[in-house]
Symmetry: C2
Subunit: 255 residues, 2 copies
């Protein structure tokens, strides 16, 4: 497979396209490719093209786009993963795996039992890190779409309509909201994913290591979320996104 580079919003009709700094460095310093090398470039929105390196210098790398090629199939139903923020490494894995499974976006939320504050999240530039992971994962799984990583927000704010914490515009994410719960959390009120008909789009909401508080479950249901359970065993928090996404994509034949 040709090495693949991410060039947001590239113009495939251009004669020469400069690579972003980090991609240029990867091409020239890590892979040690030079002029003439055959690569692929993608725009993060589904477009993937062959390209040739025309210049790879210390300061910049330019490529010339060639023919368009097919990328990996996208999931047939747009799904936004809404994960409660987990500890560092685990959250990195969640982002990587969700991209691999085909989500269109990830909207991290801070729930009551998340073990990190919004301030600490911001200070540690976690969102930037997750965005880089999303790019790497898209390359590895063959997608030409880089899912958006939305700014983290509190679970309450997300439920209320998703106004982003940074003061951005309300997100208004579309689709049915599925709240993943343990069977014991809602006293038999959780549906099986089999009983949720394929929607036009969906948000899959996953709790933190310690689970949802009873108040959060009540609040989510009051805001239209459908509680769903994923079988009879207790799943690790960092495995739930992968299991939940696989289950709904399978049931809805959208994988």
């Amino acid at each position: 497979m040709r090495p693949r580079f991410y060039v947001p919003d590239l113009d495939p009709a251009a004669e020469r396209i400069p690579l972003p700094d980090d991609e240029a460095e990867h091409l020239a310093r890590v892979l040690r490719l030079g002029a003439g090398a055959e690569v692929e470039i993608f725009d993060g929105r589904g477009g993937l093209w062959r390209a040739n390196v025309v210049q790879a210098g210390k300061r910049a790398v330019h490529v010339k786009p060639g023919e368009r090629v097919a990328a990996a199939l996208e999931a047939r139903i747009p799904i936004v993963l809404v994960p409660s923020v987990l500890k560092a490494d685990k959250m990195d894995d969640v982002v990587r795996d969700a991209v691999m499974l085909g989500v269109t976006a990830i909207h991290p939320v801070l729930s009551e039992r998340s073990e990190i504050s919004l301030a600490a999240l911001t200070r540690s530039h976690r969102t930037d890190r997750w965005r880089r992971i999303a790019v790497v994962s898209a390359k590895q799984c063959g997608r030409a779409v880089v899912p958006a990583i939305l700014e983290p927000t509190t679970f309450d704010a997300y439920l209320a309509g998703g106004e982003s914490v940074g003061g951005g515009k309300p997100l208004g994410l579309p689709g049915i909201r599925l709240l993943c719960v343990e069977p014991s959390a809602v006293e038999g009120r959780a549906r099986s994913v089999h009983d949720v008909p394929a929607p036009s789009s969906a948000q899959v909401i996953v709790g933190p290591e310690g689970g949802w508080t009873p108040g959060e479950v009540v609040s989510a249901i009051a805001n239209g979320a459908v509680p769903v359970s994923l079988g009879g065993r207790t799943l690790r928090a960092d495995a739930v996104p992968l299991v939940a996404l696989t289950a709904v994509l399978t049931i809805w034949r959208a994988m």
Copy 2:
């Protein structure tokens, strides 16, 4: 939740039951429980009982079994995971997650692109390690069944009928064999998991980091394996077991 201890083949009618050494140490030294403490004990075959500590000394811990209680639900279709051995940490995760998802057994195989030899596997006591991980994962997910970790074998030996490498008796695992492949591996011959009707039991076979060799795919199909693909994107090798098990358990309503 009461702390839970694994006592293989325990007799619930006994007055006093000694815990195995590692479980006794966990109870007395790690959790610092003493006489009178309320715990649960399980036999690894589905039985789970309340119990009280009657003696917790330096040398031994004894408990008295009480009433039987319900454990987490088992998967409704017995599934054996047949994973190609991955690098150390990743394989540990595969074992942990497969137990959590409800497999009845795990039969590790060495395929051509596995990056470890049978000799190295044996020397490093990996099977013992996986067995310990299976016990821990069973406790965490609430199962009272500890899945068997079978002795690793070569993929060829497994296909030929599963004679174990240590010279044990042929395993003769039951059920349909599903070979997880990338769509590109079999030129359109892979089925979707949707097209595999629920069997009475199944073996789910997963390749190593570098994928199957063409010869392995041919050989597996010749030995009755059904190639199945898991959607349009390239999945990480260590995520495939989790995704494949979730997909078939979901499709077969067996989760």
